[in-house]
Symmetry: C2
Subunit: 149 residues, 2 copies
Amino acid sequence: MPAKRQEPTAHVHSPAIEDYLEQIHNLIEGKGYARVVDIAKNLGISQASVTNMIQKLDAEGFVVYERYRGVVLTDEGRKVGAEIARRHEVLTRLLAGFGLDPQTVHEDVEGMEHHISRQTLDVLTLLMEELEGNAVLMRKLRTKLAGLA
Amino acid sequence: MPAKRQEPTAHVHSPAIEDYLEQIHNLIEGKGYARVVDIAKNLGISQASVTNMIQKLDAEGFVVYERYRGVVLTDEGRKVGAEIARRHEVLTRLLAGFGLDPQTVHEDVEGMEHHISRQTLDVLTLLMEELEGNAVLMRKLRTKLAGLA
DNA sequence: CATTAATTTTAGCCTGGGCTAACTTTTCAG
DNA sequence: CTGAAAAGTTAGCCCAGGCTAAAATTAATG
């Protein structure tokens, strides 16, 4: 076995699962509970689809589900949801710092946040922090960016 | 109609389609032609799946396909393929510059390359160029990165 | 508290994009 | 030029994750 390149818990989830957990996490964070309606609204899909997925999330131990009652995150589910939310925030701050159109930032972040390893997240966090604390560099880059009209 | 936020040709394709076109593009670039076997090998999927998708790509005008003969890119197909290859290169150079494990870089890039708008690509290109030309900054960041062990 | 509205769930369906097995066509070595 | 190997194709299947319509449950209002 010549080196398997795999961390202890490499846990990779489908983008869909991550989207649900992120959203549930955000809802609970924000209003204390997560209803099917709201999850559906935020993800832009039907309520029926949400119910389906929630049942799968329960079966896979990310969530505790009880018919007609709300949904609660398990420790594992909370971990994943928070993780994605974190990636979301880093990406958003990094891109928004350049003054990109918010809609575009949002779309790109939505797409990219599912594909970022710990290592890459560290790099992007570093870049974000550097830029947020280095106005000179930021100005220089934004000027160049404006030149690419 | 209060502003639809949409470029003339916003053309968004499925990740699968983009993967195929990128791969076909690379193969043609590299060896002058793209065979089903090679596409399958590079994407890590079966030849049958490739044949299927190639027929769809033909139907959608990305490729010209003739049974048992190879496959050729249309102008549109070439445009998309080259575009993805470009995003691939920028992301790879940006991340590799930080000395990340090549396998990780590859995986992250594979995932992210389908979700990057023109604007975001410009930003990342800018960052890549800045870092490649600013050894002092690069060293500083890599040092910090190493500190996150 | 009864009825209407809102929410949730179930049932059944559909599409994208994989797969294997079996068959056909092309290529190539002898 | 022939027959085996390689490449390509077809047929039929599967699964994730959407959807709608209709049924069930819970909430809210007159």
